[in-house]
């Protein structure tokens, strides 16, 4: 099963590198929602997230040759592209000026979902995961994964030593892995 996924992914990457439109259409269907969700979680801004998602696909087209299967999953790479693109935007002065009209708290982010279609299965799955995952662990994962904070920044935000954050990160991922039943 895993091998089949990997082979399919290899074919997909090859097609992407050739610039085949069908491959990008498939990529969008397969990963568009995850990338959009990630961006939305980072920006809490639907209009901006739409622009960013387009930008992410342009970057994928331009940088797909830099993707190395040896170094990780395609999904991880895509998220990194989306993450960095969004982070660049968030850190740009233009966005910082606009920030005054938006707040970056979690509630805003959730309300961003209202205008979009999310499958029920995802919601059920998320609810299950979110209730099972300790809040202290969820916090650490989200700060690193969705907000791109560094160890020091997380430590500062949570008022805990860096060493504690490192340990927490490990425990958080181990718990999440168990909940998601990933071998």
């Amino acid at each position: 099963m895993i091998n089949e996924t990997l082979n399919n992914e290899k074919d997909l990457v090859l097609a992407l590198k050739k610039g085949e439109e069908a491959a990008y259409s498939y990529l969008y269907d397969q990963y568009g929602a995850a990338l959009y969700g990630h961006i939305l979680k980072m920006t809490s801004n639907q209009e901006l997230s739409k622009d960013l998602l387009q930008e992410v696909f342009i970057k994928v087209f331009q940088k797909i040759n830099q993707y190395d299967e040896q170094k990780g999953l395609l999904y991880t790479w895509l998220i990194r592209v989306a993450h960095n693109t969004t982070l660049d935007k968030i850190k740009s002065s233009h966005f910082q000026n606009n920030l005054q009209t938006f707040s970056l708290d979690e509630k805003r982010s959730d309300s961003g979902n209202q205008g979009s279609v999310t499958t029920n299965i995802d919601h059920i799955g998320m609810e299950k995961v979110l209730t099972s995952l300790d809040n202290k662990y969820k916090q650490v994962i989200d700060l690193a994964y969705f907000h791109g904070l560094t160890q020091n920044e997380i430590a500062e935000q949570l008022g805990e030593p860096v060493g504690t954050i490192k340990t927490k990160v490990r425990k958080a991922l181990i718990q999440l892995r168990k909940i998601l039943n990933i071998v």
Partner: protein, 279 residues
């Protein structure tokens, strides 16, 4: 490195969450490439995060997909238009200053290898051809030598034949055919001699090759006594050859015997091969 300790150190979890420094990332990536257990653990962490990310997936507005694909199409056709010079990959490399020299060096290296291969195969072709030519030349030289030897032999035989014919046509010479004695009946030899000045030529003979340490000796029977006229062996002496001139006395016959090398003062009668009387 203890793999178990490394995995449980927490560095890999921090790695997949992008919490490590550039240096630490590099170190982890090297370990991943060398250690399958670590690589598989990192893969499971990435899948965990991917699954977690998927849970937060939000379907983007429907019209966004066609916009995205329109952009991809534009990018792709731009890339295609530049294709004769730049494929998409090259275009991207050209945007980035650093890889360009690498591309040139690679192109040069490939060109170099191609030139080398062509030159090598041409060299092999040429040296094979040269080798063949040399062999042919050697063959021809060998054949030439054989022909030359044959030619020399023919020339010699011709010269001998001419000399023999010349002897036969000389009116001052008398031919005496010596016939094989009963033990050597198949052999013949001929002498030509001048009765006035008593010179003798051994004209020809079909006597067999002499055994080692032996030689043929020509005798004249003068006044009933054998007189040695000299030695010869067919493989050393090309006939005709002039022999010792006969001193005074009545020449009655000629004969050839096989003697020890160096010759004998008297003929060994049981080793007589041929004999012929003068009249």
């Amino acid at each position: 490195m203890d793999t178990h300790n490394y995995i449980s150190s927490g560095i890999l979890e921090n790695y997949v969450l992008g919490l490590l420094s550039e240096n630490e990332n590099g170190a982890v990536e090297r370990v991943i490439q060398q250690n399958k257990e670590v690589a598989s653990y990192v893969n499971s962490l990435e899948q965990t995060l991917a699954a977690y990310g998927q849970l937060h997936a939000v379907q983007p507005p429907a019209e966004l997909k066609s916009k995205v694909l329109d952009q991809i199409r534009t990018l792709q056709s731009d890339a295609d238009n530049q294709k004769p010079y730049n494929t998409p990959v090259e275009k991207q490399l050209n945007n980035n200053a650093r890889p360009k020299p690498i591309k040139i060096w690679r192109a040069l290296a490939i060109a170099g290898i191609v030139v080398l291969l062509v030159s090598l195969s041409f060299n092999i072709y040429l040296s094979t051809r040269q080798f063949k030519t040399q062999q042919q030349a050697q063959d021809i030289a060998r054949q030439n030598k054989v022909l030359l030897n044959k030619n020399e032999a023919v020339q010699q035989k011709l010269t001998q034949a001419e000399k023999q014919v010349a002897l036969m046509y000389r009116s001052d010479l008398q031919a005496v055919v010596m016939k094989g004695v009963p033990q050597h009946a198949t052999f013949n030899a001929t002498v030509f001699w001048n009765a006035d000045n008593r010179t003798v030529y051994l004209g020809n003979s079909d006597l067999p090759v002499v055994p080692t340490g032996k030689v043929y000796q020509l005798w004249a029977i003068v006044d009933g006594k054998p007189v040695s006229l000299g030695l010869f062996s067919p493989e050393k002496n090309s006939l005709p050859v002039q022999m010792t001139t006969i001193q005074s006395g009545k020449v009655q016959a000629f004969a050839i015997t096989l003697e020890q090398s160096g010759g004998s003062p008297t003929p060994t009668m049981d080793q007589m091969y041929v004999m012929g009387a003068t009249s």
